[in-house]
């Protein structure tokens, strides 16, 4: 029997290829994801290990609050003396290592992509210096700088050039004294590196009298562990000592959080592609097994057992799955840099040197691809072999009885309903983790709708096909009839496309809602005339900008805001908050008050907070209550709730407090944004260019926008993100296109004689092609319509919990119409091959084909 299975594969190469391709793409994404994240992880590990060369221990501020980026505030330089006096210390050096020191390019813009840090380091003893100087050497004077080779090459900087650098202090110019690489590593993945003398590094980062860390080498009698232990005993509680090794690992863990997120996100997309591939395989096997019902029946009359037949079909799937998984794994090696490039293209540069293929990657890829193929083929195999041999030998054996059809419909309804319920329960936090249940629910809905879709195919094909028939005559008519003659087949084919399009349209609808909600919130909340923030859209800007802007003519009010993280006792989550300047905030920010008013904001005391109403409800805080906030520097603040407001877009975070506490929150040098109100009668555009010119020269990292520009730039960021999501979902859509190609090819194979007849009675080749093409278009449109409908349903469901926070759903009709048009195009593309084949059939051979 296994020989029969293998012969089948060999005999139907094209179908085998198409079926495999679906799995290849899915496995490629899985393998590519692992390879990419492993590679990034190992690159970072190399960078961290390299930088900690010769370091036995480091002292840093003890992390009091889990922050997204893992950074800790600096500590007082006096700690260095205590370290130096500790036993076992040979050399200790205070270091500045700040991720927000930008090198400015010739256009006056900071260099560096989105998310990639721009490091500023201070020089230290040579034994700790991880850099290899390609040209020149370390900075000898405060006016000298060393930068990394990648940046120097990209910008064409040469030794002796004046390099402008911006940090928390005003921008300064330095003479380029050296160009360096970090050991073997020549790319930090878009990050830049600037090396200054210690005093200059302290000055530019606004950390005078402070260090980010102390780097220590042990004497010859002391191990790093002993050193760390003795340091821990002698140092203040606000700092901690770690071995060099531990420090590398903890830095890696910080990156690991981000990488884990990236990995999960990419695996979700891979899962979508594999899910679609499963539909394709299921459909292919359903069709081919049905076509071979007679063959199986014949084999069974010859004495083959049912199990043997099933085993043969499963073996066929196993071989396809394994083969495709191997190919997918190989393709993943190429896919990994492609995804890296995709992120790089939108400004998220990640370091990738070498290609790391872990055993885990190989195993997971092979197992997943093979398992999906086998599981998808099992049901058709079971179904086909249930037909009694004698019945199977007769032509046109029916594989599904009306009773089964009824059961299938019931199962479809039940699954869809359960799926929706799971989504809602996950969303509203009844079932946790919410994301998981949301995903499980969505999968159940997809399968449920796919089970129901055979019922929907006939009416939908009639509606969609009618205009085709009217416009295109008999080929349209035949195409429509062909689409519905085997509703199950068309339904599963369409369902595969439905999944991709449902997700695409869901994302489009959700993003559109998000965008209009954000715009609405900006209109309502940010009432300032101008908005100043970092040109990368999210990094901090120096708070010194505030005073500089205040000096500009035509500026009435300047108000800095600081968005930061803390931990509130008895709560969970990110712990975001905004520090505002009470004196000026009411002029530039209007909160959507539940309890309280703008006056409360204006009179916000140092120990008061106004809170997000939803956050308050979730955690049981209301006006008059007190809560304890622990800041990044380890201080604990008692805050009293003096008002509540609705925060539609999480612009403020959990609460807003007075920036009198900025130092306690470790934010005294930083502002997230600076809001500006203009004096009556002054020209916004003129003031804006004045700020850009005068303030921008001193603080090159800032960008000044009016409300519309702010909305546009947020829209742009959203579109960039959408672009990445679409690109990843696109692969799932491609897989479903293979499904259409495959189904058409198999149907054409079945209808060979019909096609011969059509040609004999005078159907032209182009008419035959049209028949096939229209069938593909009808199938694609059914998938698209179902997909768009589900996308809308998903968007409505998922936005339910956000509705309380003012999320307004808006359906982007032009986008949805464009998706329908794309589906038509997809159908046309998928039909090219099969249509060509159908039209090239030799009429005589087709007529005599059995």
């Amino acid at each position: 029997m296994s020989a029969v299975a293998l012969r089948n594969l060999a005999a139907r190469k094209l179908r085998t290829l198409l079926t495999s391709l679906a799995i290849v793409l899915g496995v490629m994404m899985v393998a590519g994801t692992y390879i990419l994240t492993d590679t990034i992880d190992s690159s970072f590990e190399r960078i961290f290990t390299q930088s900690n060369q010769g370091v036995d221990a480091v002292v840093k501020t003890k992390q009091a609050v889990e922050t997204d980026d893992g950074t800790v505030p600096p500590f007082d330089a006096s700690v260095l003396h205590r370290v130096e006096r500790s036993p076992g210390v040979a050399v200790a050096a205070g270091v500045i290592a700040d991720p927000q020191v930008s090198i400015i390019d010739s256009d006056g813009e900071p260099i560096g992509g989105m998310g990639a840090p721009s490091f500023g380091f201070s020089t230290g003893p040579e034994r700790f210096d991880p850099l290899t100087y390609v040209e020149g050497g370390p900075p000898q004077a405060d006016a000298e700088i060393v930068i990394d080779k990648a940046t120097a090459d990209a910008e064409g900087f040469e030794l002796g050039d004046a390099i402008e650098v911006a940090g928390k202090a005003e921008a300064s110019e330095y003479e380029l004294a050296g160009i360096a690489t970090l050991g073997e590593v020549d790319s930090f993945g878009g990050a830049t590196l600037a090396l200054l003398t210690l005093p200059e590094a302290q000055r530019i980062t606004g950390k005078r009298g402070q260090f980010d860390q102390i780097t220590i080498a042990a004497d010859e009698q002391t191990t790093p562990e002993q050193l760390t232990a003795s340091l821990s005993d002698s140092l203040p509680k606000t700092v901690q000592a770690e071995t060099g090794e531990e420090d590398v690992q903890s830095q890696r863990e910080d990156i690991g959080v981000f990488l884990g997120f990236l990995q999960t996100a990419l695996l979700v997309f891979a899962g979508v592609a594999l899910f679609v591939a499963a539909f394709l395989i299921f459909n292919t096997f359903s069709i081919t097994v049905a076509q071979r019902t007679r063959e199986f029946a014949m084999l069974r009359t010859l004495g083959a057992g049912r199990r043997q037949i099933i085993a043969a079909v499963v073996l066929e799937a196993l071989v396809i799955g394994l083969l495709a998984s191997v190919l997918g794994l190989a393709a993943g090696i190429g896919f990994s840099p492609a995804v890296g490039a995709l992120f790089g293209g939108v400004g998220i540069d990640l370091p990738t040197s070498g290609t790391i293929i872990e055993l885990r990657t190989v195993i997971v890829s092979l197992v997943i691809g093979t398992a999906i193929a086998v599981l998808s083929a099992l049901l058709p195999a079971l179904r086909a072999t249930r037909v009694p041999p004698v019945q199977g030998l007769r032509e046109g054996a029916v594989l599904e009885t009306p009773r089964e059809r009824g059961r299938r419909n019931v199962a479809g309804v039940v699954l869809s309903a359960l799926g929706l319920a799971a989504m809602l329960l996950g969303l509203f936090g009844v079932l946790s983790p919410g994301e998981l249940w949301l995903g499980i629910g969505a999968i159940a809905v997809f399968i449920g709708v796919a089970l129901l879709s055979p019922r929907l195919v006939t009416p939908m094909a009639s509606v969609i096909g009618r205009p085709l028939e009217r416009l295109r005559g008999i080929p349209g008519r035949i195409a429509r009839e062909n689409a519905i003659r085997n509703p199950g087949r068309t339904a599963v084919t369409a369902a595969a496309l439905m999944i991709g399009l449902a997700l695409v349209s869901f994302v489009a609808i959700f993003a559109s809602g998000l965008r209009s909600s954000i715009e609405g919130a900006i209109d309502k909340t940010i009432v300032g005339d101008l908005f100043i923030a970092n040109s990368d859209g999210f990094s901090d800007i120096p708070v010194g900008v505030t005073d500089a802007v205040a000096e500009i003519d035509g500026v009435a009010t300047v108000s800095p805001t600081r968005y930061t993280q803390n931990e509130v006792e008895g709560t969970e989550g990110g712990g975001y908050l905004t520090l505002v300047d009470p004196e000026t905030a009411p002029d530039v920010l209007t909160l959507d008050w539940e309890q309280g008013s703008q006056e409360v904001l204006g009179e916000l005391g140092a120990s008061e907070a106004v809170i997000d109403e939803k956050w308050g409800t979730d955690n049981g805080f209301s006006v008059g209550d007190e809560f304890t906030a622990r800041t990044v520097s380890g201080e604990e603040l008692e805050l009293t709730v003096s008002g509540t407001f609705t925060d539609t877009t999480d612009y403020i975070g959990d609460y807003a407090a007075s920036d009198a506490n900025a130092a306690a929150y470790g934010e005294e040098r930083n502002a997230t944004s600076v809001l500006v109100n203009l004096a009556a009668g002054s020209d916004a555009a003129a003031v804006r260019s004045e700020i850009e010119a005068a303030v921008g020269e001193r603080f090159p990292t800032i960008e000044t926008q009016d409300q519309q520009q702010l909305k546009d730039s947020i829209g742009e960021q959203l579109n960039t993100l959408l672009g990445v999501v679409y690109a990843l979902l696109f692969l799932a859509v491609i897989v479903s296109l293979f499904g259409i190609v495959n189904t058409l090819a198999l149907s054409i194979h079945e209808r060979t004689r019909e096609l011969g007849l059509l040609r004999a009675v005078g159907t032209s080749r182009s008419q035959v092609r049209r028949i096939v093409r229209y069938e593909a278009v009808i199938t694609a449109l059914i998938g698209a319509v179902l997909g768009l409908a589900l996308g809308v349903v998903f968007a409505v469901v998922v936005s339910r919990p956000l509705a309380d926070e003012g999320f307004v759903l808006s359906i982007p009709v032009p986008t949805l119409i464009a998706l329908l048009a794309l589906a038509v195009l997809a159908g046309v593309l998928a039909a090219i091959g099969p249509a060509r084949r159908a039209s090239r059939l030799d009429v005589l051979q087709a007529l005599s084909y059995e």
Binding site: G473, I474, E754, L757, G762, T763, S764, L847
Partner: protein, 252 residues
Amino acid sequence: MNPLSADHTNSAAIVSARGLRRDFGEGEAAVRALDDVSVDLPKGRFTAIMGPSGSGKSTLMHVLAGLDRPTAGTITIDGTELGPLNDAELTRLRRDKLGFVFQFFNLLPVLTAEENILLPLKLAGREADQERKSTLIDAVGLGDRLSHRPAELSGGQQQRVAIARALLSEPAVVFADEPTGNLDTTSSGEVLALLRRAVDEFGQTVAMVTHDPQAAASADRVLVLVDGRIVSDEPARDADQVQSLMRPSAIS
């Protein structure tokens, strides 16, 4: 000489073939299915093409109908020589000038009987002549079953629908390939009677490949092929006479 029989230069011939040769395969395995066949099908006559299995009768029909190309020789249908026509032109010729009735699978299962009848005209984007359509529908006797799909019709009914489709566009010639090969005696009779009527009442030209003497007997003329050559060309009288034409003695 029988006026209906072979006058090879008959100017009233609607289909005219000269020196047809058709070889299949190459070298050692080559088979000559047609060997220097010249034949005319006169307008308004019913010609049966007979012969044992492998005699080349089906090949002759396929070649005459432009479904297959001869290795050598020329075919002219209604004044058009097929040789120089490309696939699109041949398709158009089939659609506009020829009617086909096959043994199996004559109808598109997804279309109703009526839609099947109208198919070639629809493909051409033409409207049916309503009068001819109703005459034909009367003739095939399917008035109440027109909206049925082929699967709901008997074999004989299906063949009659196929004949109606072949006749609707008033083709130059109708080619029927074993149209009764799959039918019982009664249904066969009905199908043959219908073809006969097409010739007698509508002046249609019909060429029918068959191996059944009974069927051939309803034609005006019987051509017998053996090993790719025409060995006999006689007016058809009755089944016994046709049977005798097929006997090896008559052939050699």
